[in-house]
């Protein structure tokens, strides 16, 4: 019956859209219940000491501002330490660091290039503070970010805290799309924290209890997705990861399609390869929502995006082909000067259309919640770009990552 109504390709689309709808509703339900539950006031505690590690490789353009943002944190200076690890930069980063290391509280380590995880691992074993924060050199922390994140450690079960990431450069077309994407991610990360299902401790800023590394080990190369792998390892060891939605960290986003493609290919491929490594943890009840729902749903949504946007592109190509055939048969016909008449008969009323409209409306709602959490920054045209174009753009790295994983097994670079 459904096959007769929709056709075989549409059944796939229907399945994909239904799953997406279910996922959105589930996130919304968890968010609503949590926001309606009474706020638990935790006891005040003396602030813990924190060391911020900044690994950097050729970051001459941003390192100074990044360090400044740490130095401007509203946190007792005697409890805040900064370690900058230069991972063999060959631009003017070493010079800048030499100049800055004279400042009190900054310790600089220089080493040969070996990758981000090696830069972090060289610093972590020597740290004696209660907490260890990692911060990418192209990111800048809000002055209240640290104190807001540290609050979360008042819960003794919390072993790591993630922030709310924002885009620093939002003026370009890609910047606006990413700004909306990051706004949605603020909502999603917030809900995932409630589900104990955060699976990335993002490089731009994450804070860990010191014992995390002594208990489960240091960062691993992990297919250039060390922040994802560490979070997964923590979850496998039943370590709680919290999220401070009001701890804002801005990060420089890729400004060209090529750089965005490279970044996202690295992320997607890193995710897929780590899913292969952590495959045994999927559908295990002891890993709760992460193993039973979030990771399988992430894998399904990746496949679903490929199916959905490939079929949309196929539709657009066949439409162009149809117009081309018409043109080759009867030439170009000039549009009539009269206003086109709207015949309701030709309005597409497939169930797919209704589902797409519902999903889009829900996406707008989720982004709006994320926007409120992010301090109501205006998204301007970003929402429109995101809703109508992001899927098509993302398809390029989804397909490349899938092809890379299945056919080539080629590694990506961390920068």
């Amino acid at each position: 019956m459904i096959t007769q109504t929709l056709g075989p390709l549409s059944i796939w689309l229907l399945a994909v859209l239904s799953i997406a709808l279910y996922y959105q509703i589930f996130l919304l339900l968890v968010y609503l219940e949590r926001s309606l539950s009474p706020f638990l006031k935790l006891p005040t505690l003396s602030l813990p000491s924190v060391t911020v590690i900044i690994p950097c490789y050729n970051e001459e353009e941003t390192i100074e501002d990044c360090i400044s943002s740490v130095l401007n944190l509203n946190y007792p200076k005697d409890k805040l330490h900064l370690v900058v690890v230069d991972d063999g930069s060959n631009d003017s980063t070493p010079k800048i660091l030499n100049r800055l290391k004279a400042l009190k509280g900054i310790h600089v380590i220089s080493k040969e290039n070996g990758g981000k995880y090696t830069a972090l691992n060289i610093a972590i074993p020597n740290i004696t503070t209660d907490l260890i924060a990692t911060l990418d050199a192209d990111s800048f922390v809000h002055k209240e970010a640290l104190s807001r994140m540290v609050e979360k450690f008042l819960d003794p079960r919390v072993m790591a805290v993630t922030p709310a990431l924002k885009i620093h450069n939002t003026k370009s077309f890609l910047g606006r799309i990413q700004q909306t994407e990051y706004t949605l991610a603020i909502f999603i990360r917030n809900v995932l924290a409630s589900l104990d299902a955060i699976h990335v401790t993002p490089g731009p800023f994450s804070i860990f209890r010191k014992e995390v590394f002594s208990k489960i080990g240091l960062y691993r190369q992990a297919h250039n997705a060390e922040d994802l792998e560490l979070a997964l390892r923590m979850q496998m060891n039943q370590m709680k990861i919290a999220n401070a939605y009001n701890a804002y960290v801005t990060t420089i986003s890729p400004t060209t399609f090529t750089s965005l493609f490279k970044q996202r290919l690295r992320w997607t491929l890193g995710f897929l390869n780590n899913m292969v490594d952590y495959f045994p943890s999927l559908f295990k009840k002891k890993y709760g929502n992460l193993g039973m729902f979030v990771l399988p749903a992430s894998l399904v949504s990746l496949g679903a995006s490929i199916i959905m946007f490939t079929s949309l592109i196929k539709g657009v190509i066949s439409l162009i082909d149809e117009q081309f055939l018409k043109m080759s048969a009867v030439g170009i016909s000039l549009p009539s000067l009269a206003l086109p008449t709207l015949d309701t008969f030709y309005i597409n009323t497939s169930p797919i259309i209704f589902l797409v409209i519902t999903i889009m409306a829900l996406t707008i709602l989720l982004i709006s919640i994320g926007k409120r959490l992010a301090g109501n920054e205006p998204l301007r045209m970003g929402m429109v770009y995101f809703l109508f174009l992001y899927g098509f753009i993302a398809l390029s790295w989804y397909l490349s990552a899938a092809a890379n994983l299945l056919l080539f097994r080629k590694n990506t670079n961390w920068k």
Binding site: T5, S18, I25, N289, L325, A329, F354
Partner: protein, 237 residues
């Protein structure tokens, strides 16, 4: 101990299923309305054909001019476009679409036969009939192009009546027509008069067959140019 949020999963699942079911319900309701619309158009055409047949039976008594009033080309064209859209949205195999298409084919055959008879009696005013066999199977790109050419040809000349038949539609009336004119499965195929032509024909090819229509078109263009507001003003002066 981690919580699985079982209740939330079930609630989300139920809400999602309800939305999907509602989408299907609304869509089915609107599709049903469309099918009813097509049915009512088909019924109207059927009645018009019956009326024309009756009129034709009286032709012995009536003048040929009255036949012109029964021409249904616009209705048939509209119906063809609507059916084509339903095929695209509901699929070629959809039983409702197949039934509507069969009825439409039957109406076309009846109209074609009526016009053949009319041509014998009133050659000057009876429309020109072109029977077109196409296929939706096997990606017949020339069939799509031929469809566009014939649609344009029909739009340009009201006196041309295009009857389009799906060669592979399992319907005895079409199979009889195919057998009667020995139409081979080499599509697209056009039946003009008693001749069957195979392969893609351009507008120019059609005008070679119907030179009078080209003359009409050129004259019409000329008239339009002369009827421009400036020319009319000059004429008035």
């Amino acid at each position: 101990m981690r919580i699985f949020y079982f209740r939330h999963h079930i609630t989300a699942l139920l809400i999602a299923l309800a939305i999907v079911a509602t989408s299907f319900f609304i869509s089915a309701l609107l599709t049903d309305n469309r099918i009813q619309e097509i049915r009512s158009i088909e019924d109207k055409i059927s009645m018009d054909i019956l009326s024309a047949e009756t009129q034709f039976a009286l032709l012995e008594l009536a003048a040929c001019e009255h036949l012109g009033e029964t021409f249904l080309s616009q209705e048939l064209r509209d119906l063809s476009q609507r059916l084509s859209y339903m095929e695209q949205t509901l699929g070629l195999e959809n039983p409702e679409v197949v039934n509507l298409k069969k009825y439409y084919s039957l109406l076309q055959i009846k109209d074609y036969l009526l016009m053949q008879r009319a041509r014998e009696k009133c050659e000057d005013i009876a429309p020109i009939s072109i029977v077109y066999f196409y296929s939706n199977k096997g990606g017949c790109r020339d069939c799509i192009r031929q469809g566009h050419v014939l649609s344009r040809f029909g739009e340009l000349h009201e006196q041309v009546r295009i009857y389009a038949f799906d060669y592979h539609l399992a319907f005895p009336a079409i199979q009889t027509l195919v057998a009667l004119y020995e139409v081979e499965e080499n599509l697209p195929a056009l039946l003009i008069g008693e001749n069957v032509m195979y392969g893609y024909l351009t507008l120019d090819d059609l005008y070679v067959m119907f030179p009078d229509l080209l003359k009409d078109l050129e004259e019409e263009k000329k008239d339009k140019q002369e009827d421009t507001p400036i020319n009319e003003l000059l004429e008035a002066l």
